[in-house]
Symmetry: C2
Subunit: 345 residues, 2 copies
């Protein structure tokens, strides 16, 4: 079968690899019909040393079940399914609490040797805990939106839920990438009163307005902070969703959050230490929330809103490629000429 392999930063190839196949009785084998390129894939694309490669890529996918292990009961051959980006057993105390990242079996597609979602097929461990059946055809117009359940929509929703967004909340979203835009949509869906999107790519911030942003701030650093404060009577917003992951974005979040408010992070931190002392968080009682998103926990809540058209998160996909176009897709996302790429293997 064919699959995407990254050999080093910037070096994406489509290669013939051994066919994925059932290994454990709890596995499912899925023929992939749609997968995505994620902003986090771009971190590797931008900086992965050759010594880390070759690495199979991709963690967002929809596909048709081809076969199941002997213990799998919830899906069967022929079912169209979506998988979460994080692997977890779905049955332990942490998974039942919706905290799949703390599952003793938690793992990531990027850490599973010889599997990846930017490929023709994939072996899914813990299939009963992982896969969610989709009541549509594999060529449904809803596929792009349903594919966002695998990561970015659930991640944006996690940011909003972790931040405590509800009716009347004022929210700043830092970052106009796919996750930032999903956070806008999620905050709107949860009733936020004001949603300030900080971003400077007009096509993206326009989509942000369509998703519910009430204000757009293009400024960064002190300039951007001043603009958000001006939009909020000097106070800043109750919730700040940080959907970038770089330290200046965190520092910007500290600057625009209201006293007693929450910084909810879903951008993968590209730093380890950051300011959390007296002047940054402590005196003003700023809370820090969020983290890697247990998107599987949110699928049951979000799926109906996609099926009935209440939300259209699939609009973040602005390019579709076959496997042969994956390398171009990475390049276009890295150069920001594409927002998010959908792959039809």
């Amino acid at each position: 079968m064919r699959a995407t392999v990254m050999h080093a930063a910037g070096d994406i190839r489509i290669e013939d690899v051994p066919d994925s196949r059932i290994k454990e009785p709890t596995d499912a084998l899925v023929r992939i019909t749609a997968s995505g390129v994620c902003g986090s894939d771009l971190h590797a694309y931008g900086g992965m040393p050759a010594a880390y490669g070759p690495a199979r890529m991709g963690h967002e996918f929809i596909g048709v079940v081809e076969a199941t292990g002997s213990e799998v009961t919830s899906v069967k051959a022929g079912d169209l399914v979506v998988s979460p980006w994080v692997i977890a057993d779905g049955t332990c105390a942490f998974c039942r609490e919706g905290m799949h990242l703390a599952c003793a079996h938690a793992s990531y597609w990027d850490m599973v040797p010889d599997e990846g979602a930017q490929a023709e097929a994939i072996r899914v461990p813990f299939a009963d805990g992982m896969l969610v059946k989709l009541p549509v055809a594999a060529d449904s117009a809803l596929i792009p939106s349903l594919l966002t359940l695998a990561d970015v929509l659930g991640t944006g929703h996690h940011a909003a839920v972790s931040g405590g967004v509800d009716a009347g909340t004022r929210v700043t979203v830092i970052g106009d990438g796919a996750v930032g835009l999903m956070a806008v949509l999620a905050a709107k869906r949860l009733g936020a009163e004001q949603i300030i999107l900080m971003g400077r790519h007009k096509a993206r911030t326009d989509l942000g307005r369509e998703f519910g942003a009430t204000d757009v701030v293009a400024g960064r650093g002190e300039e951007g902070i001043a603009q958000v404060r001006e939009l909020t009577g000097g106070q800043g917003t109750h919730v700040v969703i940080e959907a970038v992951g770089h330290k200046p974005a965190y520092e910007q979040a500290v600057g625009v959050v209201r006293g007693g408010g929450v910084i909810s992070r879903v951008g993968l931190p590209q730093y380890e230490e950051a300011p959390i002392g007296l002047g940054s968080l402590f005196i003003r009682n700023i809370r820090l929330a969020g983290g890697a998103a247990p998107v599987r926990a949110y699928m049951a809540e979000l799926l109906p809103d996609i099926l009935d058209g209440a939300i259209q998160p699939g609009k973040v996909f602005d390019r579709t490629v076959g496997l042969d176009g994956v390398a171009d897709g990475y390049r276009d996302m890295a150069e920001r000429s594409a927002l998010k790429v959908l792959i039809k293997p």
Copy 2:
């Protein structure tokens, strides 16, 4: 009048100073009948450069109102009152939300020139928003417990509330100083199922057990973390209250918190940057909460439990001195031969 003045680290003197008096129509003048030495006073005692002094000291007090400004309506001469450690107007949007630290008028006794609670009298700004009447006599046996409302009890309560402690919660409290012990008491009061106190001073941890600690862990660093994990089936606790403020205590908190849990900080951070990235907080969705405590917001809830004897937080005071004994009190607290000193001016 006589007051406590710090001239430099370790140099505490009792001096004759100008009498405190009403300056603003919203002021009250209070004759102090009981005040405390706080752990945060010891930070200055340990390290204040002479250039910062001379500084009036003390921010915890109970006293009798002697006079009030023309606009004060809630207290009158003769009332016994307690004041919070943080000055705030009590009327703005932030104060009404219980977020007094974000009040535009927020200030600290240590920043008010020529006033301090380790003295014979004090001028209280925003008296209507600050002072709470106490329905007991100035020589009541409840005074030590009531004095904890000014800071340490409210701070421990803030730690527990910010951490989301309720029935069934497992809690670790790091630090066996007065605030740590108050956090134990507060967690118990809120129904915590397990309260692990990390501390190594037996007299203090014994008081912690009396306040509700179910386990005591004397180990620090990796050893302490392993002991807490052993007490919690390997998982750590839902809530970790960090009541020390030094970076190793924060790192210990990261080590003992359960996936999806909360680190609630009330120890005054003696650091600005600390680990909050992928490995420390992000992947496991650890939240960071707490901060400087808006204790005024909690007085109405906590006062009845002191008056009816349900809680006896005053047990943290193990030494009583007059003004002449204040310097000895600081020294004894710094040397840990006293847990917390009560001053009767």
